[in-house]
């Protein structure tokens, strides 16, 4: 079993829809959770990070962590064609070496105009 599981998609939704992207994990020691957006042929860009459980909101993006279920989500409201990209989740134990940051394999998202 992989430490982090992420549905590869592709996920296609119409413009304006609410998008839900998810990852599950098995290591209960993870405390730091990150979401990255990666456009085609570009490096991943940090979107959001959260520590421990709870929600964090930034504009149209909301990151949610449920440590009891070992499940994290990224919600995108009022989705736009410019949101079309691959979204990677990542997680680590607090203050661990970054060599121990574990990435999901990414979900490819397409927003239809």
């Amino acid at each position: 079993q992989k430490e982090v599981e992420q549905d590869p998609g592709p996920l296609s939704v119409p413009e304006g829809a609410i998008v839900s992207l998810n990852c599950t994990y098995s290591n209960s020691a993870f405390q730091y959770f990150m979401w990255y957006r990666q456009y085609s042929r570009k490096g991943p860009e940090l979107l959001m990070y959260t520590y421990s459980s709870g929600n964090k909101e930034d504009g149209r993006f909301t990151a949610q962590v449920d440590k009891s279920s070992k499940y994290i989500s990224l919600f995108i409201r009022d989705s736009q064609p410019s949101d079309s990209a691959t979204y990677l989740c990542a997680m680590s134990t607090y203050y661990s070496s970054a060599s121990k940051i574990i990435f999901g394999s990414g979900t490819r998202l397409s927003i239809r105009p």
Binding site: R41, K42, G43, S97, A98, S99
Partner: protein
């Protein structure tokens, strides 16, 4: 603010030729530096990381090597490329003060070995 630069962005190299990818970070000191490879449709594979000048840790034994000649410079090299070395290579950094928290990536280098 901190920035990371990586070059070249794209290169096509014949099998058996050498490789050198360079990465520099600006606006910070003593960063932790990383090289990742991302194969098409697959996740990120950590190749090397460095916590200081001359300190290199290899995660995956292979045809590549890394060096850190200066605090904010990280180089990925190969003496003889293989077809299997083709892929998208990403340099990344984390702050020395909180290495496990967030990691920042460069724009990437697309390598095609022919």
């Amino acid at each position: 603010s901190q920035t990371i630069h990586q070059w070249p962005a794209t290169l096509v190299q014949p099998v058996g030729s050498p490789l050198s990818l360079e990465c520099t970070v600006e606006g910070t000191s003593n960063p932790n530096l990383y090289w990742y490879r991302q194969a098409a449709g697959r996740g990120l594979q950590l190749l090397f990381y460095s916590v200081g000048i001359g300190q290199i840790s290899s995660e995956v034994p292979q045809n590549l090597s890394a060096s850190r000649p200066q605090d904010r410079q990280f180089i990925l090299s190969s003496k003889k490329l293989l077809l299997s070395d083709s892929g998208f290579y990403l340099c990344a950094w984390t702050p020395d003060s909180a290495p496990g928290n967030t990691i920042y990536f460069g724009e990437g280098s697309w390598l095609t070995v022919v």
